[in-house]
């Protein structure tokens, strides 16, 4: 048996941290593999996230998360230019509902100013109401911060992964880490060996960006002392008819455990309210609760009184990976080559591009040779969002490719061409397709488009529709009848006729 192939860097985890790092490393002449446990990248912590690129105000400057927050904000602006994911620089309105909260919001503003965040403005109640007429009319004051933006975290992460892949990073999905071999006493500097169901992966450096499971993965590597506790956040997405209710992200004066319940104009023009912040025990517990909904709407109505629970069309919960320090846990460990990027809670998504640069510096410090490649392409073809184009552009698109004129998802106006494009860029599940294109994310929540999406995925992946899943694993969507003909002659576009053109009973 020959020597195993040793990769320069194994990135464990395909969330915002892992993918932005993969993309940052892709400009160097390196052999990088990203291993994602789920069926697609962004399916962990990054998926169920508020999607806010924070203004830079919120985390204290003496913490790592605070230091990386505003540089990360700038990083996302640049990634948006290069990759073309949905991005709306909506700004933030930080609201003091009561007089007592005025000092709090002003101290947060000052914290931002100290960190170099430009453009912040203290607002009188009237200024705030002029900008956001649906705010609580009794508010005491507000702070305006222009630097905040919103993205679709999954769409952005998926495109960042796509960009990394285009520049040579290998991405492997459904690769949960099962074990990491202990240090070889005779060769303490030998490559690390990471075991997944697809076999061992050898890497000189291993980045632990496994989100909620970073403590377990660190323990596998023989790195003790890290504890990750899940802190649940429930979010509620409202019907399009309340579009325009707020124009900026509306924040309350924060509380100790979280930034509080926000009212968020999503990048797609819908309104989202949330999140809650409650410690839970189960790292898989993404259930929403009646109490959570009650809490979210009670808090959100303090800010925007006309919010109505009846407008909810979808709800979800995400888990923040909280390390015992409350800050990011990033850096080399006692295991040579094993580097943690753990405890990435809010503003983790925002910080990710800056954190990626920080990790590149750490890798260089640890001895990784960084030689820039000559053919690195910072850009990638921007995905076409048909619904967002002008009628003339739509006409041209449809004239060139009639599949732009066939709607798959009518609630969100997603065309067949966009769905096929997403599949060619790596969508392999119904959720992955939804997160990339919005097909199935609207009012009807997939009642009309699920079948079209299933058949297009089955065709693109060359599998029967029964093999297509919602999000990988055992999340199958339809099953065969027990009298399904073999071979599958009825699933494709061109059903197979037998030689005589007559029918046969199976």
């Amino acid at each position: 048996m020959g020597e195993p192939h040793v990769h320069d860097v194994l990135i464990l985890g395909g969330g915002a941290v892992g993918t932005t790092l993969a993309r940052a490393l892709s400009r160097f002449d390196l052999d990088v593999v990203l291993l994602e446990a789920e069926a697609e990248v962004a399916f962990g912590v990054s998926k169920a996230n508020s999607g806010i690129i924070h203004s830079g105000l919120h985390a204290p400057g003496d913490t790592l998360k605070g230091r990386l927050e505003y540089p990360g904000n700038r990083g996302w602006h640049q990634l948006h230019e290069e990759l073309g994911f949905g991005f709306a620089p909506v700004g933030e309105t930080l609201v003091a509902v009561e007089e007592a909260e005025l000092a709090t919001i002003e101290s947060i503003r000052q914290q931002g100013v100290d960190k170099g965040v430009p453009g912040t403005q203290p607002w009188t109640p009237q200024q705030a109401l002029d900008a956001e007429p649906n705010l609580n009319r009794d508010l005491a004051g507000a702070v305006w911060v222009p630097t905040a933006a919103v993205i679709n975290p999954y769409e952005a992460v998926m495109l960042v992964a796509d960009a990394a892949q285009r520049n040579g990073v290998r991405i492997e999905v459904e690769q949960p880490v099962i074990a990491i071999d202990p240090v070889d006493a005779h060769r303490p500097d030998a490559p690390l060996i990471v075991h997944t169901p697809a076999g061992p992966w050898h890497g000189r450096y291993v980045i632990n960006a496994t989100g909620l499971f970073a403590d377990e993965v660190a323990a596998m590597a023989g790195v003790p002392g890290l504890t990750i506790r899940p802190r649940k956040g429930e979010e509620y997405l409202l019907d399009r008819r309340v579009e325009g209710l707020v124009h900026s992200i509306v924040f309350p004066a924060p509380r100790p455990t979280s930034k509080g319940t926000l009212v968020i104009p999503t990048v797609d023009g819908t309104i989202m309210v949330g999140p809650t912040a409650h410690e839970v025990d189960d790292k898989w517990d993404t259930s929403t609760t009646e109490e959570g909904a009650a809490e979210v709407f009670a808090n959100a109505r303090r800010l925007v009184p006309v919010l109505n629970e009846r407008d909810v069309i979808a709800e979800f919960a995400g888990l923040r990976p909280v390390a015992q320090t409350g800050d990011f846990v990033v850096g080399p460990t006692e295991r040579p080559g094993f580097i943690n990027a753990a405890g990435i809670l809010s503003p983790g998504l925002t910080a990710a591009p800056a954190l990626a640069d920080h990790l590149v510096d750490i890798l260089a410090d640890q001895g990784l040779a960084l030689v820039e490649t000559t053919d690195w392409d910072p850009t990638a073809p921007h995905p076409v969002r048909f619904a967002g184009r002008s009628t003339d552009e739509q006409r041209r698109l449809a004239a060139d490719d009639p599949r732009y004129a066939r709607l798959v998802c009518r609630c969100e106006l997603v065309t067949e061409a966009e769905v096929r494009e997403a599949i060619s860029r790596g969508a392999r599940t119904l959720d992955g397709l939804k997160f990339r294109t919005r097909a199935g994310m609207g009012r009807c929540q997939g009642a009309f488009c699920t079948w079209s999406c299933l058949t297009l995925l089955a065709e693109g992946l060359d599998v029967p529709v029964t093999a297509v899943t919602k999000r990988g694993g055992d999340s199958w969507i339809v099953c065969e009848r027990d009298d399904q003909p073999e071979p599958d002659a009825t699933g494709g576009d061109q059903p197979e006729l037998d030689a005589a053109g007559s029918s046969v009973a199976w």
Partner: protein, 427 residues
Amino acid sequence: MVTTEHPRQLADSYDVTIVGGGPAGLAAAVGARDQGAERILLVDRDPTPGGILLQCIHSGFGLHTFGEDVTGPEYAHRALEQVVDHDVDVLTDAYVTDASSDLRLKLMSPSTGVATVDTSTVVLAPGARERTRGAIRIPGERPAGVMTAGLAQAMVNLHGRLPGRRAMILGSGDIGLIMARRLTLEGVEVAGVCELLPYPSGIGRNVVQCLEDFDIPLHLSTTVVDIHGRDRLEGVTIAPVDDDRRPVMSRSAHVPCDTLLLSVGLIPDAELAQRLQLRLDPVTGGPVVSSTMETSRPGVFAAGNGVHVNDLADWVSREAQVAGAAAGDLALGRHRPLEDVHVTPGHNVGYVVPHTLSTSRTQTVSFRVKEPIHGDTILRIGDVHRRKVRAVVPAEMITLKVGPKLLDGCAGDTLRVDAIPAGQEEA
């Protein structure tokens, strides 16, 4: 069969454009044509017009329209046949994505690309969509296997795949009841049907033929309170509800199943109605309409489940024919009737369609009661019409014909529609 052809070239303008090719759209086309409108365009999203009828393979359609009991696909065929006989431009696989206030419609289809057409009048016949898990806010996890009953119906009846192996159904609406039978017959075990209300939401015939015939339990005053399963649904928790419809968790039970079908109501699809900023009825969710089904925007008509959810396709056809005829009349320059009477829901009435009446013509008033009355019931329209019926339930839409004779002298009035137990009329 009836095949439709794409118009080789879309005309720049039409007298009447009908958006939707289900029972409402097809009947509207016939109505418009019967009034003499010549240039009629019908736009349908599917490759074959017929709408949801094509997946409703069961019988129970057509008694009023065709005088016999036929299945959904047969009803669709007959309706489409009339349209083809009437020489209507039918554009399939197409969507109207926008409409301006001067009735320039933006549409798209693979055969036409992105196109605009001007139309003198338009009939919106978009049908309804099903309420989803989000709309009824069931807490719990989000595994695969939770879907609307209509999606499951399409999977089974059109695409030949099953939604799962053991299903629970939430909501006793007609689609849910019919799917309970359908799944049972196709070998899927149906664990039961839960209904939040103390009475079934679907019509009695379906309770008998779809549940009782197959010993499928119907749990009234019961709902799903939790959903379990990380990847695929593994089970649901059901619980009875108290008089305030709050779940009694101490009496909850776990039901193992891999599929949860939701049959928890339909909502008019008001996408285009909203783009056209039509006035909507907050109860139905559809546009406010006149006796000829004209909306708050002149020249824009609406009919069928896009206005209010009907229980019979026959009622949809009848209403849409009125809408189509009026759209045709208006396009040809004829005057619309004076809408001089308002109707409004009164005692135990949820909504009334249309919202105004004309003293000059005969029209049908449709409404639903809020609560069932098990016994002789008086239906009243103001003090001009009074009828005794045996019983009323919310599942069954009530229709009353009102003509000029009854409405004589009512011009300017607002008439309340009431449904009152016989003998309690004074209260």
